[in-house]
Amino acid sequence: MSGEPLDRALIMKRFEGAIEDLGTAHGIHAFAVPPETIVEVCRVLKDDPALRFNFLSDICGVDHHPETPRFEAVYHLYSLPNKWRVRIKCRLGDPPEISSVTGVWRTANWHEREAWDMYGIRFTGHPDLRRIYMWEGFEGFPQRKDFPLRGYKDKLNPFGAEGPPPTQPDLATKEIP
Protein backbone atom coordinates (compact mmCIF):
# COMPACT_ATOMS: atom_id res chain seq x y z
CA MET A 1 0.00 0.00 0.00
CA SER A 2 1.22 3.50 -0.72
CA GLY A 3 2.59 5.52 2.16
CA GLU A 4 2.20 9.21 2.80
CA PRO A 5 0.86 11.24 -0.13
CA LEU A 6 3.30 13.65 -1.71
CA ASP A 7 3.32 17.11 -0.18
CA ARG A 8 3.52 19.74 -2.91
CA ALA A 9 5.20 22.18 -0.55
CA LEU A 10 8.10 19.75 -0.14
CA ILE A 11 9.07 20.10 -3.78
CA MET A 12 8.35 23.83 -3.91
CA LYS A 13 10.56 24.39 -0.87
CA ARG A 14 13.35 22.27 -2.29
CA PHE A 15 13.58 24.42 -5.43
CA GLU A 16 12.77 27.79 -3.87
CA GLY A 17 10.93 29.51 -6.69
CA ALA A 18 12.91 27.94 -9.51
CA ILE A 19 9.83 25.99 -10.56
CA GLU A 20 6.20 26.89 -10.85
CA ASP A 21 3.34 25.01 -9.24
CA LEU A 22 0.69 23.98 -11.75
CA GLY A 23 -1.63 22.37 -9.23
CA THR A 24 -2.88 18.82 -9.02
CA ALA A 25 -4.77 17.07 -11.78
CA HIS A 26 -6.29 13.65 -11.13
CA GLY A 27 -3.89 12.71 -8.39
CA ILE A 28 -0.66 13.89 -10.00
CA HIS A 29 1.11 17.10 -8.99
CA ALA A 30 2.39 19.11 -11.93
CA PHE A 31 5.23 21.61 -12.01
CA ALA A 32 6.45 23.94 -14.72
CA VAL A 33 10.20 24.06 -15.12
CA PRO A 34 12.18 26.48 -17.30
CA PRO A 35 13.83 24.41 -20.05
CA GLU A 36 17.33 25.62 -19.15
CA THR A 37 17.16 23.99 -15.73
CA ILE A 38 15.54 20.69 -16.63
CA VAL A 39 18.64 18.54 -16.08
CA GLU A 40 19.41 20.03 -12.66
CA VAL A 41 15.80 19.74 -11.55
CA CYS A 42 15.62 16.13 -12.67
CA ARG A 43 18.88 15.29 -10.97
CA VAL A 44 17.70 16.75 -7.68
CA LEU A 45 14.34 15.00 -7.96
CA LYS A 46 16.14 11.73 -8.52
CA ASP A 47 18.92 12.06 -5.92
CA ASP A 48 17.31 13.99 -3.07
CA PRO A 49 16.86 11.48 -0.23
CA ALA A 50 13.44 12.90 0.63
CA LEU A 51 12.12 12.64 -2.94
CA ARG A 52 13.93 9.85 -4.84
CA PHE A 53 12.08 9.96 -8.13
CA ASN A 54 14.22 7.19 -9.53
CA PHE A 55 11.88 5.92 -12.24
CA LEU A 56 11.23 7.87 -15.42
CA SER A 57 7.87 6.70 -16.72
CA ASP A 58 7.56 8.72 -19.83
CA ILE A 59 8.67 11.72 -21.87
CA CYS A 60 6.07 13.12 -24.18
CA GLY A 61 6.09 15.91 -26.72
CA VAL A 62 3.04 18.12 -27.23
CA ASP A 63 2.31 20.57 -30.01
CA HIS A 64 0.02 23.42 -28.93
CA HIS A 65 -0.20 24.93 -32.41
CA PRO A 66 -1.13 27.78 -32.96
CA GLU A 67 -0.42 28.90 -29.38
CA THR A 68 2.92 30.35 -28.39
CA PRO A 69 5.18 29.04 -27.02
CA ARG A 70 4.20 26.27 -29.34
CA PHE A 71 5.76 23.09 -27.97
CA GLU A 72 5.90 21.35 -24.67
CA ALA A 73 7.90 18.49 -23.21
CA VAL A 74 6.11 16.56 -20.47
CA TYR A 75 7.98 14.26 -18.10
CA HIS A 76 6.26 11.75 -15.86
CA LEU A 77 8.35 10.63 -12.92
CA TYR A 78 7.68 7.95 -10.37
CA SER A 79 9.30 7.36 -7.03
CA LEU A 80 9.57 3.63 -6.40
CA PRO A 81 10.41 3.98 -2.66
CA ASN A 82 7.73 6.58 -1.90
CA LYS A 83 5.16 5.60 -4.55
CA TRP A 84 4.67 9.16 -5.74
CA ARG A 85 4.11 10.50 -9.20
CA VAL A 86 4.88 13.98 -10.52
CA ARG A 87 4.55 15.63 -13.87
CA ILE A 88 7.18 18.10 -15.07
CA LYS A 89 6.23 20.41 -17.93
CA CYS A 90 8.50 22.60 -20.03
CA ARG A 91 7.13 25.01 -22.59
CA LEU A 92 9.44 25.30 -25.62
CA GLY A 93 9.58 27.84 -28.43
CA ASP A 94 9.96 27.17 -32.13
CA PRO A 95 12.30 25.47 -33.06
CA PRO A 96 12.01 23.53 -29.82
CA GLU A 97 15.19 22.70 -28.00
CA ILE A 98 15.89 21.33 -24.53
CA SER A 99 18.71 19.55 -22.74
CA SER A 100 18.65 15.78 -22.73
CA VAL A 101 18.11 13.91 -19.46
CA THR A 102 19.78 10.73 -20.71
CA GLY A 103 22.54 11.43 -18.19
CA VAL A 104 20.02 11.15 -15.37
CA TRP A 105 18.00 8.15 -16.57
CA ARG A 106 19.26 5.94 -19.37
CA THR A 107 15.68 5.09 -20.30
CA ALA A 108 15.22 8.67 -21.55
CA ASN A 109 17.17 7.70 -24.67
CA TRP A 110 14.33 6.27 -26.74
CA HIS A 111 11.66 8.54 -25.30
CA GLU A 112 13.66 11.54 -26.48
CA ARG A 113 14.30 9.98 -29.86
CA GLU A 114 10.56 9.50 -30.24
CA ALA A 115 9.82 13.12 -29.32
CA TRP A 116 12.47 14.25 -31.81
CA ASP A 117 11.05 12.03 -34.52
CA MET A 118 7.44 13.04 -34.01
CA TYR A 119 7.70 16.69 -32.94
CA GLY A 120 11.20 17.77 -33.85
CA ILE A 121 12.13 18.59 -30.29
CA ARG A 122 15.91 18.71 -30.29
CA PHE A 123 17.43 17.24 -27.16
CA THR A 124 20.91 18.70 -26.88
CA GLY A 125 23.48 16.37 -25.42
CA HIS A 126 21.59 13.24 -26.48
CA PRO A 127 24.13 10.55 -27.43
CA ASP A 128 22.30 9.29 -30.51
CA LEU A 129 19.44 11.54 -31.61
CA ARG A 130 18.15 9.78 -34.72
CA ARG A 131 14.65 9.17 -35.97
CA ILE A 132 13.16 6.12 -34.33
CA TYR A 133 9.86 5.30 -36.05
CA MET A 134 10.15 7.10 -39.37
CA TRP A 135 12.85 6.20 -41.85
CA GLU A 136 16.06 8.10 -42.30
CA GLY A 137 15.59 10.93 -44.75
CA PHE A 138 11.92 11.46 -43.92
CA GLU A 139 11.06 15.13 -44.03
CA GLY A 140 8.90 16.89 -41.49
CA PHE A 141 7.58 15.83 -38.11
CA PRO A 142 4.41 13.77 -38.44
CA GLN A 143 2.71 14.41 -35.12
CA ARG A 144 2.83 18.17 -35.37
CA LYS A 145 -0.63 19.66 -35.66
CA ASP A 146 0.14 21.23 -39.04
CA PHE A 147 1.21 17.89 -40.55
CA PRO A 148 -1.72 16.34 -42.45
CA LEU A 149 -3.07 13.06 -41.08
CA ARG A 150 -2.49 11.23 -44.35
CA GLY A 151 0.85 12.82 -45.11
CA TYR A 152 1.74 14.74 -48.24
CA LYS A 153 0.93 13.56 -51.73
CA ASP A 154 3.77 11.95 -53.64
CA LYS A 155 4.26 8.96 -55.90
CA LEU A 156 4.10 6.51 -53.01
CA ASN A 157 1.19 8.21 -51.29
CA PRO A 158 -1.56 9.11 -53.77
CA PHE A 159 -4.07 9.81 -50.96
CA GLY A 160 -1.97 12.43 -49.21
CA ALA A 161 -2.76 16.10 -48.86
CA GLU A 162 -1.82 18.55 -51.58
CA GLY A 163 1.03 20.88 -50.97
CA PRO A 164 4.73 20.71 -50.43
CA PRO A 165 6.16 19.22 -47.24
CA PRO A 166 7.11 21.85 -44.66
CA THR A 167 10.35 23.52 -45.48
CA GLN A 168 12.50 22.28 -42.66
CA PRO A 169 14.93 20.01 -44.45
CA ASP A 170 17.87 21.46 -42.56
CA LEU A 171 16.28 20.49 -39.25
CA ALA A 172 15.31 17.01 -40.34
CA THR A 173 18.49 15.95 -42.01
CA LYS A 174 21.08 18.00 -40.22
CA GLU A 175 23.77 16.07 -38.42
CA ILE A 176 23.14 16.14 -34.67
CA PRO A 177 26.17 16.99 -32.54
Binding site: S2, A25, H26, D58, V74, R106, M134, P142, L149
Partner: protein, 404 residues
Protein backbone atom coordinates in the same frame (compact mmCIF):
# COMPACT_ATOMS: atom_id res chain seq x y z
CA UNK B 1 43.77 -32.86 -32.20
CA UNK B 2 46.92 -30.82 -31.67
CA UNK B 3 47.70 -31.00 -35.36
CA UNK B 4 44.37 -29.51 -36.26
CA UNK B 5 44.77 -26.65 -33.80
CA UNK B 6 48.17 -25.87 -35.22
CA UNK B 7 46.74 -25.84 -38.67
CA UNK B 8 44.15 -23.24 -37.73
CA UNK B 9 46.39 -21.08 -35.61
CA UNK B 10 50.00 -21.19 -36.72
CA UNK B 11 52.44 -20.44 -33.94
CA UNK B 12 53.29 -16.80 -33.46
CA UNK B 13 50.81 -15.58 -36.01
CA UNK B 14 47.67 -13.72 -35.09
CA UNK B 15 44.51 -14.68 -36.87
CA UNK B 16 43.32 -12.20 -39.41
CA UNK B 17 40.03 -11.07 -37.87
CA UNK B 18 37.66 -8.23 -38.55
CA UNK B 19 34.37 -7.03 -37.22
CA UNK B 20 31.28 -8.16 -39.02
CA UNK B 21 28.01 -6.29 -39.28
CA UNK B 22 25.11 -8.69 -39.10
CA UNK B 23 21.58 -7.73 -39.96
CA UNK B 24 19.03 -9.75 -37.99
CA UNK B 25 15.47 -9.29 -39.11
CA UNK B 26 13.08 -7.57 -39.74
CA UNK B 27 11.69 -10.88 -40.96
CA UNK B 28 13.12 -13.39 -38.53
CA UNK B 29 11.20 -15.84 -36.34
CA UNK B 30 13.08 -15.08 -33.15
CA UNK B 31 12.59 -11.33 -33.31
CA UNK B 32 8.91 -11.79 -32.37
CA UNK B 33 7.63 -9.60 -35.14
CA UNK B 34 9.30 -7.00 -37.28
CA UNK B 35 12.30 -6.00 -35.24
CA UNK B 36 15.58 -5.41 -36.99
CA UNK B 37 18.79 -5.71 -35.06
CA UNK B 38 22.05 -4.48 -36.49
CA UNK B 39 24.74 -6.36 -34.64
CA UNK B 40 28.43 -5.62 -34.62
CA UNK B 41 30.09 -8.97 -34.21
CA UNK B 42 33.58 -9.93 -33.23
CA UNK B 43 33.45 -13.61 -34.11
CA UNK B 44 30.55 -14.97 -32.06
CA UNK B 45 30.66 -12.08 -29.62
CA UNK B 46 28.25 -9.21 -29.85
CA UNK B 47 30.11 -5.94 -29.52
CA UNK B 48 27.21 -3.58 -30.11
CA UNK B 49 23.55 -3.90 -30.85
CA UNK B 50 21.44 -1.31 -32.59
CA UNK B 51 17.72 -2.10 -32.72
CA UNK B 52 15.83 -0.52 -35.61
CA UNK B 53 12.12 -0.29 -34.98
CA UNK B 54 9.20 1.37 -36.70
CA UNK B 55 8.32 -1.27 -39.29
CA UNK B 56 4.88 -1.58 -37.72
CA UNK B 57 4.36 2.10 -36.93
CA UNK B 58 0.72 2.93 -37.53
CA UNK B 59 0.63 6.32 -35.88
CA UNK B 60 -1.86 5.35 -33.18
CA UNK B 61 -1.28 8.60 -31.32
CA UNK B 62 -1.81 10.79 -34.37
CA UNK B 63 -4.87 8.77 -35.44
CA UNK B 64 -6.37 9.08 -31.96
CA UNK B 65 -6.41 12.86 -32.32
CA UNK B 66 -9.00 12.52 -35.09
CA UNK B 67 -11.13 9.83 -33.41
CA UNK B 68 -13.77 10.14 -30.73
CA UNK B 69 -13.03 8.50 -27.41
CA UNK B 70 -15.19 5.47 -28.15
CA UNK B 71 -13.57 5.01 -31.54
CA UNK B 72 -10.13 4.81 -29.94
CA UNK B 73 -10.84 1.48 -28.22
CA UNK B 74 -10.18 -0.55 -31.38
CA UNK B 75 -6.89 1.31 -31.78
CA UNK B 76 -5.81 0.28 -28.30
CA UNK B 77 -6.59 -3.36 -29.15
CA UNK B 78 -3.87 -3.22 -31.72
CA UNK B 79 -1.13 -2.15 -29.34
CA UNK B 80 -0.36 -5.34 -27.48
CA UNK B 81 -2.45 -7.71 -29.54
CA UNK B 82 -1.83 -10.62 -27.17
CA UNK B 83 -3.87 -9.00 -24.43
CA UNK B 84 -6.31 -6.38 -25.79
CA UNK B 85 -8.58 -6.29 -22.70
CA UNK B 86 -5.71 -4.80 -20.66
CA UNK B 87 -5.16 -2.06 -23.20
CA UNK B 88 -8.88 -1.28 -23.35
CA UNK B 89 -8.94 -1.10 -19.58
CA UNK B 90 -5.98 1.29 -19.37
CA UNK B 91 -7.57 3.67 -21.82
CA UNK B 92 -11.02 3.45 -20.25
CA UNK B 93 -9.65 4.27 -16.81
CA UNK B 94 -7.79 7.29 -18.15
CA UNK B 95 -10.90 8.73 -19.81
CA UNK B 96 -13.04 7.96 -16.77
CA UNK B 97 -10.61 9.89 -14.59
CA UNK B 98 -10.94 12.89 -16.90
CA UNK B 99 -14.73 12.65 -16.77
CA UNK B 100 -14.70 12.12 -13.02
CA UNK B 101 -16.81 8.98 -13.22
CA UNK B 102 -16.35 5.38 -12.19
CA UNK B 103 -17.71 2.23 -13.76
CA UNK B 104 -20.31 0.22 -11.78
CA UNK B 105 -18.86 -2.42 -9.48
CA UNK B 106 -20.00 -5.34 -11.60
CA UNK B 107 -18.31 -3.82 -14.64
CA UNK B 108 -15.11 -3.41 -12.65
CA UNK B 109 -15.16 -7.08 -11.68
CA UNK B 110 -15.74 -8.12 -15.27
CA UNK B 111 -12.95 -5.86 -16.50
CA UNK B 112 -10.49 -7.21 -13.97
CA UNK B 113 -11.44 -10.76 -14.86
CA UNK B 114 -10.87 -10.03 -18.54
CA UNK B 115 -7.60 -8.24 -17.87
CA UNK B 116 -6.30 -11.20 -15.89
CA UNK B 117 -7.37 -13.63 -18.60
CA UNK B 118 -5.44 -11.42 -20.99
CA UNK B 119 -2.43 -11.52 -18.70
CA UNK B 120 -2.45 -15.30 -18.74
CA UNK B 121 -2.84 -15.28 -22.51
CA UNK B 122 0.12 -12.91 -22.90
CA UNK B 123 2.31 -14.80 -20.46
CA UNK B 124 1.43 -18.13 -22.07
CA UNK B 125 2.90 -17.01 -25.33
CA UNK B 126 6.23 -16.10 -23.79
CA UNK B 127 6.20 -19.26 -21.66
CA UNK B 128 6.17 -21.21 -24.89
CA UNK B 129 8.00 -18.86 -27.22
CA UNK B 130 11.17 -18.45 -25.18
CA UNK B 131 11.88 -22.21 -25.12
CA UNK B 132 11.00 -22.34 -28.80
CA UNK B 133 13.55 -19.64 -29.60
CA UNK B 134 16.09 -21.82 -27.83
CA UNK B 135 15.10 -24.94 -29.71
CA UNK B 136 12.43 -26.59 -27.56
CA UNK B 137 9.31 -26.67 -29.70
CA UNK B 138 7.06 -28.67 -27.39
CA UNK B 139 6.46 -25.95 -24.82
CA UNK B 140 4.95 -23.62 -27.42
CA UNK B 141 2.51 -26.26 -28.62
CA UNK B 142 1.43 -26.95 -25.03
CA UNK B 143 1.06 -23.24 -24.31
CA UNK B 144 -0.96 -22.65 -27.46
CA UNK B 145 -3.35 -25.43 -26.45
CA UNK B 146 -4.20 -23.57 -23.25
CA UNK B 147 -4.21 -20.21 -24.97
CA UNK B 148 -6.94 -21.55 -27.20
CA UNK B 149 -9.13 -22.06 -24.12
CA UNK B 150 -8.67 -18.39 -23.23
CA UNK B 151 -9.46 -17.38 -26.79
CA UNK B 152 -12.69 -19.33 -26.55
CA UNK B 153 -13.57 -17.60 -23.29
CA UNK B 154 -12.84 -14.18 -24.80
CA UNK B 155 -14.88 -15.04 -27.86
CA UNK B 156 -17.77 -16.13 -25.69
CA UNK B 157 -17.87 -12.77 -23.90
CA UNK B 158 -16.80 -10.30 -26.55
CA UNK B 159 -17.50 -12.05 -29.85
CA UNK B 160 -13.90 -11.69 -30.95
CA UNK B 161 -10.86 -13.81 -30.30
CA UNK B 162 -8.21 -11.17 -30.60
CA UNK B 163 -9.35 -7.59 -30.99
CA UNK B 164 -11.98 -7.55 -28.31
CA UNK B 165 -12.75 -3.81 -27.87
CA UNK B 166 -14.74 -4.91 -24.86
CA UNK B 167 -14.40 -2.00 -22.45
CA UNK B 168 -16.36 1.20 -22.85
CA UNK B 169 -16.03 4.46 -21.04
CA UNK B 170 -18.14 3.86 -17.95
CA UNK B 171 -18.38 0.10 -18.13
CA UNK B 172 -18.18 -2.75 -20.58
CA UNK B 173 -19.94 -3.29 -23.88
CA UNK B 174 -22.28 -6.05 -22.80
CA UNK B 175 -22.93 -8.30 -19.86
CA UNK B 176 -21.40 -11.73 -19.39
CA UNK B 177 -23.28 -14.41 -21.34
CA UNK B 178 -25.11 -17.28 -19.66
CA UNK B 179 -22.87 -20.16 -18.76
CA UNK B 180 -19.70 -18.10 -18.75
CA UNK B 181 -19.16 -18.42 -15.02
CA UNK B 182 -19.22 -22.23 -15.27
CA UNK B 183 -16.81 -22.14 -18.18
CA UNK B 184 -14.33 -19.95 -16.37
CA UNK B 185 -14.58 -22.09 -13.23
CA UNK B 186 -13.73 -25.10 -15.34
CA UNK B 187 -10.75 -23.25 -16.78
CA UNK B 188 -9.53 -22.25 -13.31
CA UNK B 189 -9.67 -25.90 -12.30
CA UNK B 190 -7.78 -27.25 -15.27
CA UNK B 191 -5.18 -24.56 -15.73
CA UNK B 192 -3.02 -24.77 -12.55
CA UNK B 193 -2.10 -28.38 -13.38
CA UNK B 194 -1.13 -27.32 -16.85
CA UNK B 195 1.21 -24.66 -15.43
CA UNK B 196 2.87 -27.46 -13.49
CA UNK B 197 3.28 -29.27 -16.81
CA UNK B 198 5.20 -26.40 -18.36
CA UNK B 199 7.46 -26.18 -15.38
CA UNK B 200 8.12 -29.90 -15.39
CA UNK B 201 8.85 -29.66 -19.08
CA UNK B 202 11.42 -26.91 -18.72
CA UNK B 203 12.86 -26.83 -15.21
CA UNK B 204 14.96 -29.94 -15.72
CA UNK B 205 15.70 -29.31 -19.37
CA UNK B 206 19.47 -28.96 -19.33
CA UNK B 207 19.72 -27.12 -22.61
CA UNK B 208 17.09 -24.59 -21.56
CA UNK B 209 18.72 -24.05 -18.17
CA UNK B 210 22.20 -23.66 -19.64
CA UNK B 211 20.96 -21.09 -22.07
CA UNK B 212 18.89 -19.03 -19.64
CA UNK B 213 20.43 -19.34 -16.14
CA UNK B 214 22.92 -16.56 -15.54
CA UNK B 215 22.40 -15.19 -19.06
CA UNK B 216 21.39 -11.61 -19.61
CA UNK B 217 21.54 -10.58 -15.97
CA UNK B 218 20.07 -7.13 -15.28
CA UNK B 219 20.73 -5.76 -11.81
CA UNK B 220 17.99 -3.98 -9.88
CA UNK B 221 19.67 -0.57 -10.29
CA UNK B 222 20.10 -1.08 -14.02
CA UNK B 223 16.54 -2.27 -14.39
CA UNK B 224 15.18 0.88 -12.74
CA UNK B 225 17.56 3.10 -14.68
CA UNK B 226 16.48 1.48 -17.95
CA UNK B 227 12.83 1.97 -17.06
CA UNK B 228 11.93 -1.72 -17.08
CA UNK B 229 8.55 -2.52 -15.62
CA UNK B 230 6.32 -5.50 -15.05
CA UNK B 231 7.74 -9.01 -14.78
CA UNK B 232 11.05 -7.87 -16.27
CA UNK B 233 11.59 -5.50 -13.35
CA UNK B 234 10.31 -7.92 -10.73
CA UNK B 235 12.66 -10.63 -12.01
CA UNK B 236 15.48 -8.29 -11.02
CA UNK B 237 14.19 -8.16 -7.46
CA UNK B 238 12.33 -4.85 -7.49
CA UNK B 239 9.05 -5.32 -5.67
CA UNK B 240 6.71 -3.06 -7.60
CA UNK B 241 3.31 -3.87 -8.99
CA UNK B 242 0.86 -1.11 -9.87
CA UNK B 243 -2.04 -3.43 -9.04
CA UNK B 244 -0.93 -3.38 -5.41
CA UNK B 245 0.88 -0.04 -5.08
CA UNK B 246 -1.59 2.21 -6.90
CA UNK B 247 -4.69 0.01 -6.93
CA UNK B 248 -7.20 0.70 -9.67
CA UNK B 249 -10.62 -0.85 -10.19
CA UNK B 250 -11.18 -3.49 -7.48
CA UNK B 251 -7.64 -4.71 -6.99
CA UNK B 252 -7.55 -3.40 -3.44
CA UNK B 253 -10.27 -5.90 -2.51
CA UNK B 254 -8.41 -8.88 -3.93
CA UNK B 255 -5.81 -11.05 -2.29
CA UNK B 256 -2.81 -11.85 -4.46
CA UNK B 257 0.95 -12.02 -4.19
CA UNK B 258 3.43 -9.97 -6.16
CA UNK B 259 5.99 -12.35 -7.60
CA UNK B 260 9.60 -11.24 -7.42
CA UNK B 261 12.80 -13.09 -8.23
CA UNK B 262 16.27 -11.96 -7.35
CA UNK B 263 18.44 -13.33 -10.12
CA UNK B 264 17.51 -10.96 -12.95
CA UNK B 265 18.52 -13.46 -15.64
CA UNK B 266 16.50 -14.90 -18.51
CA UNK B 267 15.34 -17.85 -16.44
CA UNK B 268 14.08 -15.55 -13.65
CA UNK B 269 12.08 -13.54 -16.17
CA UNK B 270 10.56 -16.73 -17.54
CA UNK B 271 9.84 -18.16 -14.10
CA UNK B 272 8.35 -14.88 -12.91
CA UNK B 273 5.75 -15.01 -15.65
CA UNK B 274 4.91 -18.63 -15.00
CA UNK B 275 4.32 -17.84 -11.32
CA UNK B 276 2.27 -14.77 -12.19
CA UNK B 277 -0.16 -16.93 -14.12
CA UNK B 278 -0.95 -18.78 -10.88
CA UNK B 279 -1.70 -15.48 -9.15
CA UNK B 280 -3.91 -14.44 -12.05
CA UNK B 281 -5.90 -17.64 -11.64
CA UNK B 282 -6.36 -16.79 -7.96
CA UNK B 283 -7.58 -13.32 -8.89
CA UNK B 284 -10.03 -14.69 -11.43
CA UNK B 285 -11.36 -17.21 -8.90
CA UNK B 286 -11.96 -14.42 -6.38
CA UNK B 287 -13.68 -12.28 -9.01
CA UNK B 288 -15.97 -15.16 -9.94
CA UNK B 289 -16.82 -15.80 -6.29
CA UNK B 290 -17.56 -12.18 -5.47
CA UNK B 291 -19.07 -11.11 -8.80
CA UNK B 292 -21.95 -8.81 -7.77
CA UNK B 293 -25.19 -8.25 -9.59
CA UNK B 294 -26.02 -4.86 -11.03
CA UNK B 295 -25.58 -2.78 -14.14
CA UNK B 296 -22.58 -3.36 -16.40
CA UNK B 297 -22.61 0.19 -17.71
CA UNK B 298 -22.86 3.57 -16.07
CA UNK B 299 -26.30 5.16 -16.16
CA UNK B 300 -25.36 8.34 -18.03
CA UNK B 301 -27.08 8.76 -21.39
CA UNK B 302 -24.54 11.38 -22.43
CA UNK B 303 -21.69 8.87 -22.19
CA UNK B 304 -23.01 5.32 -22.41
CA UNK B 305 -24.87 3.75 -25.30
CA UNK B 306 -28.44 2.55 -24.67
CA UNK B 307 -28.30 -0.73 -22.76
CA UNK B 308 -31.32 -2.14 -24.50
CA UNK B 309 -30.50 -2.07 -28.20
CA UNK B 310 -34.12 -2.88 -29.09
CA UNK B 311 -35.17 0.52 -27.76
CA UNK B 312 -33.13 2.25 -30.46
CA UNK B 313 -35.63 0.95 -32.98
CA UNK B 314 -38.78 2.10 -31.19
CA UNK B 315 -37.89 4.98 -28.86
CA UNK B 316 -37.02 8.44 -30.16
CA UNK B 317 -34.85 9.31 -27.15
CA UNK B 318 -32.81 6.12 -27.41
CA UNK B 319 -32.34 6.66 -31.14
CA UNK B 320 -31.10 10.21 -30.59
CA UNK B 321 -28.81 9.02 -27.80
CA UNK B 322 -27.37 6.26 -29.97
CA UNK B 323 -26.96 8.50 -33.00
CA UNK B 324 -25.43 11.33 -31.01
CA UNK B 325 -22.88 9.09 -29.34
CA UNK B 326 -21.97 7.40 -32.62
CA UNK B 327 -21.72 10.50 -34.75
CA UNK B 328 -20.48 13.12 -32.30
CA UNK B 329 -19.21 11.29 -29.22
CA UNK B 330 -19.22 13.03 -25.88
CA UNK B 331 -17.36 16.05 -24.62
CA UNK B 332 -14.61 15.42 -22.11
CA UNK B 333 -13.76 18.26 -19.73
CA UNK B 334 -10.62 20.22 -20.39
CA UNK B 335 -7.64 18.86 -18.53
CA UNK B 336 -4.89 16.31 -18.52
CA UNK B 337 -4.49 12.90 -17.00
CA UNK B 338 -1.82 10.26 -16.76
CA UNK B 339 -3.12 6.91 -15.74
CA UNK B 340 -1.10 3.71 -15.63
CA UNK B 341 -2.10 0.11 -15.12
CA UNK B 342 -0.12 -3.06 -14.69
CA UNK B 343 -0.42 -4.59 -18.14
CA UNK B 344 1.13 -8.02 -18.76
CA UNK B 345 4.24 -6.38 -20.18
CA UNK B 346 4.58 -3.68 -17.52
CA UNK B 347 3.42 -0.16 -16.89
CA UNK B 348 0.94 0.77 -19.60
CA UNK B 349 0.16 4.44 -19.25
CA UNK B 350 -2.12 6.77 -21.14
CA UNK B 351 -1.44 10.49 -21.04
CA UNK B 352 -4.45 12.32 -22.41
CA UNK B 353 -4.66 16.03 -22.95
CA UNK B 354 -8.23 17.14 -23.51
CA UNK B 355 -9.33 20.49 -24.88
CA UNK B 356 -12.98 19.92 -24.03
CA UNK B 357 -13.97 18.44 -27.39
CA UNK B 358 -15.05 14.83 -28.08
CA UNK B 359 -11.59 14.02 -29.43
CA UNK B 360 -8.36 14.02 -27.45
CA UNK B 361 -6.01 16.91 -28.18
CA UNK B 362 -3.04 14.66 -27.54
CA UNK B 363 -2.86 11.05 -26.51
CA UNK B 364 0.43 9.54 -25.55
CA UNK B 365 0.82 5.83 -24.96
CA UNK B 366 3.52 4.82 -22.53
CA UNK B 367 4.06 1.41 -24.08
CA UNK B 368 5.89 -1.01 -21.77
CA UNK B 369 7.40 -3.07 -24.60
CA UNK B 370 8.90 0.04 -26.17
CA UNK B 371 10.78 0.80 -22.96
CA UNK B 372 11.62 -2.82 -22.16
CA UNK B 373 13.20 -3.37 -25.55
CA UNK B 374 15.74 -0.66 -24.78
CA UNK B 375 17.21 -2.91 -22.10
CA UNK B 376 18.99 -4.79 -24.89
CA UNK B 377 21.68 -2.12 -24.48
CA UNK B 378 21.94 -2.66 -20.78
CA UNK B 379 22.49 -6.40 -20.79
CA UNK B 380 26.18 -6.68 -20.19
CA UNK B 381 26.95 -10.37 -19.97
CA UNK B 382 24.98 -11.67 -22.91
CA UNK B 383 28.07 -11.91 -25.04
CA UNK B 384 27.26 -14.55 -27.60
CA UNK B 385 24.96 -13.89 -30.49
CA UNK B 386 22.88 -16.89 -29.42
CA UNK B 387 22.45 -15.35 -25.96
CA UNK B 388 21.09 -12.21 -27.57
CA UNK B 389 18.15 -14.29 -28.82
CA UNK B 390 17.52 -15.61 -25.31
CA UNK B 391 17.61 -12.11 -23.86
CA UNK B 392 15.32 -10.72 -26.52
CA UNK B 393 12.88 -13.56 -26.00
CA UNK B 394 12.89 -13.17 -22.24
CA UNK B 395 12.24 -9.41 -22.41
CA UNK B 396 9.08 -10.33 -24.28
CA UNK B 397 8.57 -7.31 -26.55
CA UNK B 398 5.45 -7.23 -28.71
CA UNK B 399 6.39 -5.27 -31.77
CA UNK B 400 2.90 -3.89 -32.31
CA UNK B 401 3.20 -2.19 -28.95
CA UNK B 402 6.80 -1.10 -29.50
CA UNK B 403 5.88 0.58 -32.77
CA UNK B 404 2.48 1.93 -31.74
Amino acid sequence: MTEVTELIRPEGEALDTKEVLLNLGPQHPSTHGVLRLVLELDGEYVERVDPHIGYLHRGTEKLAESFTYTQIFPLTDRLDYLCPPSNNLAFAIAVEKLLGIEAPVRAQYIRVMMAELARISGHLLITGALPMDLGAMTALLYAMREREMIMDLLEMVTGARMHTSYCRVGGVREDLPDGFVDKIREFCEIFPNRIRDYERLMEKNRVFLKRTRGIGVISAEDAIDLGLSGPNLRASGVDWDIRRDEPYEIYDRLDFNVITRGEGDCYARWQCRVDEMRESIRIIEQCVEELPDGPFQIDMPTIAFPVDKEKVHCSMEALIQHFDLSAYGFNVPKGEVYSAIEAPKGELGFYILSDGSPKPFRMKVRAPSFVNLQALFGVSNARYLADMIAVLGSLDPVMAEVDK
